[in-house]
């Protein structure tokens, strides 16, 4: 019976024995590493070379700046959003574990509810995006835009690209949640959740690098 279940959902034979979709997502993640490396490189090269403020970690006073400008990065707020994104990764692995172990002892109730964990991950991702929207808005109000200085250009490009990836991830999670609500994700669907989880964790590890390199290192 179990063998029949596997056979009915088995992927087409491949030279490696691995599902092409999983190889594809890892190859995609590899290529994304290089995309973000180029964006991070650009940020680091331009770091400290802005002629006018606002600056990330330093105050700017006249005559360098027309008025007094505070250091623009808000570390407490970003620390909270970083924590939220880290927790979203925990929720995501719990969603995958819930799908893989559906109906098994120890996975009854909350722990086995893939809907709950997928929803929690999507909410955490949306919360992170809310923090980013707040940060971007406050920066613009303080006079930092994409065109203000080299810091603004490289900062908004880097974090904006990351935010776009988080947005795509949230949409992906909501799609999985809709499938789960409609027909229920079963253990045979574990690969679908696994692939989206890999993407989501990658978005998390990119933020781990950005948080240190952009926000904490002066």
């Amino acid at each position: 019976m179990a063998t029949a279940a596997v056979a009915s959902h088995a992927h087409p034979p491949t030279s490696t024995g691995l599902d092409h979709r999983k190889i594809a997502i890892w190859a995609f993640i590899g290529s994304e590493c290089m995309l973000f490396a180029s964006l991070i490189s650009t940020y680091l090269i331009y770091k400290g070379r802005s002629v006018v403020g606002p600056f990330p970690h330093e105050v700017c006073d006249p005559p360098k700046c027309a008025t007094h400008l505070n250091a623009i990065l808000n570390i407490p707020v970003t620390s909270v959003s970083t924590f939220v994104l880290l927790m979203s990764s925990l929720f995501m692995v719990l969603a995958l574990a819930a799908v893989e172990n559906k109906g098994k002892p120890g996975y009854e109730g909350i722990l086995g509810s893939s809907k709950l964990w997928l929803l929690a991950t999507a909410i955490a991702g949306t919360t992170f995006l809310g923090f980013q929207a707040y940060e971007f808005t406050s920066f613009v109000h303080e006079g930092l835009t994409l065109r203000t200085n080299l810091f603004g250009s490289s900062f908004f490009t880097l974090t904006g690209f990351h935010g776009a990836h988080v947005t795509a991830g949230v949409l992906w999670l909501l799609t999985l949640l809709a499938i789960d609500m409609k027909r229920g994700l079963q253990p045979k669907d574990a690969l679908l959740v696994d692939i989206s989880a890999l993407y989501w964790h990658f978005v998390d590890v990119v933020w781990i690098a950005i948080f240190t390199l952009v926000y904490l290192i002066r």
Partner: protein, 116 residues
């Protein structure tokens, strides 16, 4: 794969196709990973607010090491690279090495490591 000895306790899951070579962590292990990640983040943020530590030459290396540790923990445990097929390891670490080499090379090229 001939070297594939692990079978998932749930027979509906095709571990061969998913590349799972060893059993994935339990939710309790995931919880501990989350706690460790949180503690490292708390230490990073704390370090940012200690002026004497920020001024010391170990500030940047310490933050980079902690960030690398968090990166590795997520990749190994949450992304299951520690437990899955070695081809995935190659597909990730290969481009990652190229990416890191690119960053270091560009920083050298633009004089970011030059003494002023």
């Amino acid at each position: 794969m001939a070297d594939h000895e692990f079978t998932h306790t749930n027979p509906e899951i095709d571990v061969h196709a998913m590349g799972e070579m060893h059993e994935h962590p339990t939710w309790k292990q995931y919880k501990w990973v989350a706690i460790i990640l949180t503690l490292i983040t708390v230490f990073e943020v704390w370090a940012y607010y200690v002026p004497s530590f920020v001024a010391s030459p170990v500030f940047v290396p310490t933050l980079l090491i902690m960030s690398a540790a968090k990166f590795a923990i997520v990749v190994l445990f949450y992304m299951h690279l520690k437990y899955d097929h070695r081809l995935f390891r190659g597909l990730f670490t290969g481009p990652l090495i190229i990416a890191m080499a690119t960053i270091v090379s560009l920083l050298f090229l633009f004089g970011k490591f030059a003494r002023r």
